[in-house]
């Protein structure tokens, strides 16, 4: 085993990050690191495609309509906020569902479970759409009205900003 320390690796990664080159190779006492990158691969996270929420398991029908106890996080127990409604009507006529605070968005009540909603699903006023968690405070996101989910703009476990639009709902006539 070489004497390459964790800090060395960090420094190497910083060097790679700061440079413009596409290929990087370093050899140190028998350890060889090769890194190559294609142009434009940086900053992909910022331009996530819309409706990127997991849609597998969509055939399971009524996924957790009641505000279920989410099983995320690392605490044995944590307080959860009651449903918060933050929404506004967008230019296109759909209702934008916004994050009530910065935090992690969860599309499902627990890891591996079917998501609360999917694009095209009908929802009733008060149905749970997702969860935003910050520092173990879980806030349920609920539908402000009856309607159909037109788009889901954030992925499961994505970090969202305060007031960021999470999804849009087309209100029932």
């Amino acid at each position: 085993m070489s004497d390459l320390t964790y800090q060395d690796v960090l420094n190497i990664l910083r060097l790679i990050d700061s440079g413009q080159f596409e290929k990087f190779e370093i050899e140190y006492e028998g350890t060889r690191i090769k890194v190559s990158r294609r142009a434009g691969s940086a900053a992909t996270a910022a331009s996530r495609p819309s409706s990127a929420a997991p849609t597998t398991g969509g055939a399971h029908g009524e996924a957790a309509k009641a505000p279920a106890a989410p099983a995320h996080g690392d605490g044995k127990s944590a307080p959860a906020a009651a449903p918060k409604r933050a929404s506004s009507t967008s230019a296109a006529g759909g209702i934008e569902i916004k994050a009530p605070m910065a935090g992690t968005f969860y599309a499902a009540p627990s890891p591996g479970a079917a998501p609360f909603v999917e694009t095209g699903r009908s929802v009733r006023k008060g149905d749970q759409l997702g969860i935003v968690e910050v520092m173990k405070l879980f806030t349920a996101i609920t539908a402000p009205c009856d309607g159909v989910v037109r788009s889901i703009l954030v992925a499961n476990e994505e970090f969202v900003q305060n007031e960021q639009t999470l999804m849009t709902i087309e209100a029932a006539k």
Binding site: P79, M101, G103, T104, L137
Partner: protein
């Protein structure tokens, strides 16, 4: 054997605390960090730090494989899990044993037994420790009535199978029992397919008292006195103190003896806490649960006894016998710990992560501050909100209370919101000073003060 290098599988103030305890004993340290904690105080103090995964704790601090692999890969001979995260995860203790790494904590079997509330209750009863009077087999009204007469009112009815507060009913008058039984039983049947109820005595005027235990691998079990953690909000402790000056000494002696009896009964090893509920109206106590880890509020006990609990944990984990005898354990003075969290109390305790622009902590010889924060530190949004623990000692409770109130005024944090204003309000109340409080008191204060839940109503839920 003696430990050479310890892996710290935690973050925040407890990671700092463990690193310092190791260094005081001449033990090297490696701290696990997530992507968000690369520049943490613990990482800077430790001999080395290793990134074990992304910011999300489910992919880093809660990942048993990543933690154990990193411990082995960095040549550590022991692992300290701190509190929270994997601290009470028997699978981590098992994985450590399998890989030849000493787990600084109880045996995996003990973690498993105490983690199962029903099993823990059984073992407590077997050790002669009083458990909350009740019955778990109440299937019809006649049985409910006889149990109610036996244990006395008020009582709590809840579904025997399943939890989460579904179908819970409080009965204060015998006349209400039939209606409450039928409602609870119907709800239990609807939710869990079984209408059988669990009936137990409801203790309204309760104090939370817990006993610190330390045990070596050679059968010696000591208690290091108790802590009073009655000030809670939604089962989260806010202020802890010791000794339990407001509980009568004869009862305290029974509580301490019960904790030791339970620890001996399960052949407990390392540090642990046995929690009890004290019924202030009947002057009785009952077992709640055992926490098989170092606790957040351990500095209260350290201040009273002069014992460094984390160092003792490391010594007994290495197989050393405890040098101390029970007779040598003396509780001197009074200590109070306040938890300072990044939360806006006046906004329903909304979390307040972000950059700390100014951090001024009180400095006195009667004050200890355990923290990982400093001016310029960015509190990440991914973990719990605790910023610091303020521990204040006095010759007696009155002095400790007045000093705590004084230094809470001197403590200032800017850039993020903290619970400091809330703590100042709480400790200024005459009921806190006189001790006329119970486990529901904090919520009562909140409903009467500016700290009411402005716009946000919360309900307890169980996660992960």
């Amino acid at each position: 054997m003696s430990l050479r290098r310890v892996f710290v599988a935690n973050r925040g103030e407890i990671a700092v605390r463990i690193v310092r305890a190791c260094h005081a004993l001449g033990i090297e340290t490696v701290v696990a960090v997530s992507d968000a904690d690369r520049d943490s105080l613990a990482a800077r103090l430790a001999g080395r730090s290793v990134c074990i995964g992304p910011a999300r704790s489910s992919t880093s601090y809660l990942n048993v494989d990543a933690v154990v692999t990193a411990a082995v890969g960095t040549g550590c001979d022991a692992l300290h899990p701190g509190y929270g995260f994997l601290a009470e995860n028997a699978a981590l203790a098992d994985a450590c044993t399998e890989m030849g790494v000493v787990f600084v904590g109880p045996r995996a079997e003990t973690i498993r037994e105490m983690g199962n509330k029903i099993r823990a209750r059984e073992l407590a009863a077997r050790a002669g420790v009083p458990i909350v009077p009740g019955a778990s087999d109440v299937a019809d009204f006649e049985r409910a009535a006889s149990v109610a007469k036996e244990i006395g009112l008020p009582i709590l009815l809840k579904a025997a199978s399943g939890g989460g507060g579904r179908g819970m009913q409080v009965v204060r008058e015998l006349a209400d029992l039939r209606g409450a039984f039928e409602t609870a039983s119907a709800e239990a049947r609807a939710a869990f397919g079984d209408g059988t109820l669990y009936v137990e005595r409801l203790i309204l005027n309760a104090r939370h008292i817990e006993v610190q235990i330390i045990a070596d691998q050679h059968g010696k079990v000591l208690h290091l006195g108790e802590r009073d953690c009655t000030l809670q909000r939604r089962h989260q402790k806010i202020v802890e103190e010791g000794p339990a000056a407001l509980v009568a000494e004869p009862l305290l002696k029974k509580i301490r003896d019960a904790a030791v009896a339970l620890a001996v009964g399960v052949r407990y090893e390392n540090a642990g806490t046995v929690e009890f509920i004290v019924d202030q109206d009947r002057n009785e106590f009952f077992f709640l649960e055992v926490n098989t880890r170092i606790q957040v509020e351990h500095p209260v006990t350290e201040a009273l006894t002069g014992v460094d609990l984390v160092q003792e944990q490391l010594r007994v984990a290495a197989g050393e016998p405890l040098k101390l005898d029970q007779k040598q354990v003396r509780l001197t003075g009074h200590a109070i710990e306040c938890r300072i969290n990044a939360e806006a109390a006046h906004k329903g305790f909304r979390p307040s992560p972000g950059r700390i622009t100014a951090w001024r902590e009180p400095e006195h010889d009667f004050v200890r501050v355990d923290t990982h924060c400093y001016p310029g530190y960015v509190v990440p949004p991914f973990y719990d909100s605790m910023l610091a623990k303020l521990i204040v000692v006095g010759a007696d409770r009155a002095e400790a209370v007045s000093r705590t109130r004084q230094v809470l005024e001197e403590f200032s944090v800017e850039g993020i919101e903290t619970t400091l204003p809330f703590l100042r309000t709480l400790l200024a109340r005459p009921e806190y000073v006189s001790g006329a409080v119970n486990t529901r008191w904090v919520e009562k204060v909140m409903s009467e003060s500016d700290f009411s839940n402005a716009g946000i109503s919360e309900r307890p839920q169980v996660h992960g």
